[in-house]
Point group: C2
Chain length 193, copies 2
């Protein structure tokens, strides 16, 4: 399987997350995430797998159309970096299927801590060896919960599931995206997380 540059999900040397499994259980309860959602996400993974590029086209189109967002894929003076966009896009493709198919265990938490710091000054730009702006502000991390959730809905209808099944997949996706952005907010808040 062609390896994706910088995609380190299964890297055994990942540092463990500061977030414990008990923290995760409470976070799951807060977003009402249950085993039914795990099942709905598995179905969603099958539905979304053949549509990854179309989904990423929507998200990257959205970022590209907003100067205040594409700035984070650009040099400090504002020139977009095409290979940075391309390399992150390839990891973003994995993320869609990982959201649906990976067990939410300590390895999942460890990689989310890695993704968290890759959005902040602690590690942004290192993975892709680029000269870009130092961090992504928390306001846009939380703000993205809406577009990353809402734009997935039409793709969930592509395999002809009944409305309640689409609604179940959509809610499971919404819960998971909310949990993941919550995990990625850790480095921004630390002691008050």
């Amino acid at each position: 399987m062609m390896t994706t540059p910088g995609y380190d999900y299964d890297d055994p040397s990942l540092r463990p997350s500061p977030v414990t499994l008990d923290d995760l259980e409470k976070l799951k309860a807060t977003v009402l995430f249950s085993s039914a959602d795990e099942a709905a996400l598995k179905t969603a993974g099958d539905v979304l797998a053949p549509q990854i590029d179309q989904i990423l086209d929507v998200w990257y189109g959205f970022v590209g159309a907003n100067p205040h967002l594409v700035a984070y894929f650009s040099t400090p003076s504002g020139t977009p970096l095409p290979d940075y966009l391309a390399r992150v896009r390839a990891r973003f493709a994995h993320w869609i299927l990982d959201t649906c198919n990976r067990p939410y265990d300590e390895q999942w938490l460890a990689y989310h801590q890695e993704i968290a710091i890759r959005h902040t000054a602690e590690k942004k730009n290192e993975t892709d060896h680029v000269d870009s702006v130092p961090y992504i502000p928390l306001r846009y991390m939380i703000g993205f919960i809406y577009p990353i959730t809402a734009t997935i809905r039409p793709f969930l209808t592509a395999a002809g599931h009944r409305e309640e099944e689409v609604e179940a997949m959509f809610n499971a996706w919404f819960k998971s995206v909310t949990m993941q952005v919550t995990l990625w907010s850790y480095p921004y808040a630390k002691s008050v997380w």
Copy 2:
């Protein structure tokens, strides 16, 4: 009109928000919030107004059923404070209609900065003169985006609107809740907000 203790939305002495109208425009673009959403929220306000208590029963039932959440309405040793819950509930009722009906202007931003600090150690417990835990962790502020958004949907169907109208009201609500939690995350992140 009976005044609600601690509800200071129209208080002229509110300090201005550190968030500018330009910041707000970019945040609106990030969640795709447009004038169509403002119209949908006005309709939602009419639909939700007769159901405020039922909505608050759902949310307060959810908090009450989760020890790790009711803790924030309790003494440091874990005893829930009924009058704290009641006073905040009354302000929460205003919040539902404010979300739908208030212009999102500098006064709106100012009161959201006030609501933000009331969730943090800077001002929690002062408004209601209670001895409770010092702050609410950021993880639950972001986590609540799911329950506060998802549980509103059935209430939006109560006035018999067509499915697309309910969908428009739901998305406008989802965008607004995401923006408001983003504004309330300011004191947790400050320089990296």
